[in-house]
Amino acid sequence: MLEKAFLIPLYPLFAFVVIVFFTRWKERLSSYISIAMVTVGLVHSLVVLIQMIARHGMPLELSRTFIDLPEIHLELGIWIDPLTAVMLMVVTIVSGCVQVYSLGYMHNDPRWSRYYSYLSLFTFSMLGLVVANNFFMIFIFWELVGLTSYLLIGFWFEKKSASDAGKKAFITTRIGDLGFIVGLLILMAYAGTFNYQEIFAKVTGGEVDAGIVALAGIFVFCGAVGKSAQFPLHVWLPDAMEGPTPVSALIHAATMVAAGVYLVARAMTLFAGSEVSSMVVAIIGLTTSLLAATMALTQNDIKRVLAYSTVSQLGYMVMALGLYGVDFARAMAHHGANFAEHFHSPGFYAGTFHLMTHAFFKALLFLGAGSVIHAVHTNDIRDMGGLARKMGITSITFFIASLSISGIFPLSGFWSKDEIVATSAGHPLFFVLTLLIAFMTAFYMFRLCFMTFTGQPRDQERFDHAHESPHSMTVPLMVLAFLSIFAGWTGLPWLKHNFATFVYHHEPYHAHANYLLMLVSTVVALSGIGLAYLMYYRGAISPAAIGERVRLLYRLSFNKFYFDEIYEVIVVKATLGLAAVLWWFDARIIDGLVNLAGWFTVKWADAKQLFDTYVVDGAVNGIGYVCLAGAWILRLVQSGSVQLYTLVVIAAAIGIVIYRVTPGGFLYYLAGLLLVALARLLTKMLASDRVKAEPKIEG
């Protein structure tokens, strides 16, 4: 089954093709096909994971030539290593849950089949991205993910805001992708291949200049910045909440945004070789995480809080991976070849581990939010409250996920977040801010929980109509809640073989329990929850008063630091202005030149027409007239009188005889003939005059 892993992406592709071409009008059938195919993929992924564990994480590469050019060798292939196997599991599980959940959430949607075909295409793209064995392939799937995310975010395109959000997501990620492709071209130019392993071998072997590697790494990271919604390209993700909520769960929990983190993890060798590029990655991650956490504090839209939370958590992962690269580069610089003995950074493990656990609990949070929205038909948490009494399963699972993301022992999030904190422990600034972010995360998540599920209903009418969602929606919630609790246990530090020894970059990382750090992070998380409890459950501290006290900060956070407005002015206005200038240039200068050329052509054609009419046609007609005139003269000979013809023959015969006898006499003969002919002509004319004078009498 491991060798057949290339089939995993093809199952959803098959579903997509079947839905689009055959079952579009059978809506239920379409959704069942899609779910069945992703389930097959899930089972296959599970088998691959088990086999990968059985062979102790030994990677497998299968490759086939795609295009062979003199300088460039492109291949289609799969690279299955523990990271890939884990990602396959995560993507198929979340995609499966989302698709089942959509059965309930999207019921009565007029474009049901289309929705499922998009989901299948999206799953295909993401799985293809994960199994790719070279940068060329990953780029193709990368763009496919971008396309399908555009389709899904703008799925309700009748809404202007939704179609705008789709465009924004597409264009913003495209900016990052530009950097990505530049990075790929640099790699191609200096390493001469797109294949991961060949590039990494050349990089670690020192065949490629370290500066080039750092540059390529930063450019490749641009792609991840776009896709994973990192600062400064994070603006598209909150707007993308316009898509259907299950789509948000799929795109913003496990797949599209995970692609960026996956790319950084996959290309870790590029970053690990250079402290500069790793530091860039880490700082971008930290900035993103901090900004997004701050913005999440004050949002009132349930999905937007989750969106900023996602951005923040992704920043966490990117930061952890970046710090790993920094540590790696420093260790190599200090200890030389056998640095591995002195090098113990959990960053890579922390980033990828958090990617997995986050996928589960964030998908759960989004789906739970969808369940709430489904019940009360609003996104605004100020109109909610007390929903726990109506929606038991939703509220319990939502609380589990919130505890998990806040990092409460012993849920999944605790173990992965703890490792991220441990990674940052070696960097004081990072350490402090990481704890601050953890505190804010716990706070805003429980602000959300308390405002939504506890207290008195703030909108009685909505509350009265609220109801628990159907089983198709609650079952995926329970599955994900189970994973949100237990998925993290694969990384228990007391296990001999755990996540850290399975998914690693350079050497297997042997985690060890650091009880002090665990205590610190738990205390931070609990204090965040406690503050939220005091403010939003007990009402002991008035949020409005605090908002008033730090008015400036509150407004900055509430307005998302005015990023959208700044981009509106700097990017959108500038682009439109440039476009206006270019349009003017086009309309006036280019069109003017074109029209001038056209005018000249017309005039020149007129001149040539005159030439044609009078010179060329004149010549042709002139020849015609000359011929006609000649014919008028020559036809006089055709008198129709046989006697005249005979006369000419006999005169010629006599002439020949005279010529033979006396050539000199021939001229006299000719002259004589001419005289006779003239005389004859004259008499003829006189005769015709006479005929005119006396009218001819017929009969």
Binding site: R635, Q638, G640, S641, V642, Q643, T646, L647, I650
Partner: protein
């Protein structure tokens, strides 16, 4: 022999003149007969004075007379048709081949 040849030449010239100048189609046919007979006189004269042993020239002359008779028949038939179609046999008026 020259007397015969001179006679033939004069006869031939009269025939040619007749062919070229007569307007009457029958006159032209008669002039043609004169030309035939001029040729016949030549044939007989040559036979008599140059190859007296054979009769080739004389037999040839008889052939000419026969063919001339046939030609006269055809010619007169044409003249008859001309007369029917043009109500006359003046060749000056028969110029449908003009231009």
């Amino acid at each position: 022999m020259y007397q015969y040849l001179a006679l033939a030449a004069i006869l031939f010239a009269i025939g040619v003149f007749g062919v070229l100048t007569r307007r009457n189609a029958i006159g032209i046919l008669m002039s043609l007969e004169l030309m035939f007979n001029a040729a016949n006189i030549n044939l007989v004269a040559f036979n008599k004075f140059i190859t007296p042993d054979g009769l080739t020239g004389q037999i040839f002359a008889i052939f000419v007379v026969v063919v001339a008779a046939a030609e006269a028949v055809v010619g007169l038939a044409i003249v008859l048709l001309l007369y029917r179609n043009w109500k006359g046999i003046d060749v000056d008026h028969i110029n449908i081949m003009k231009w």
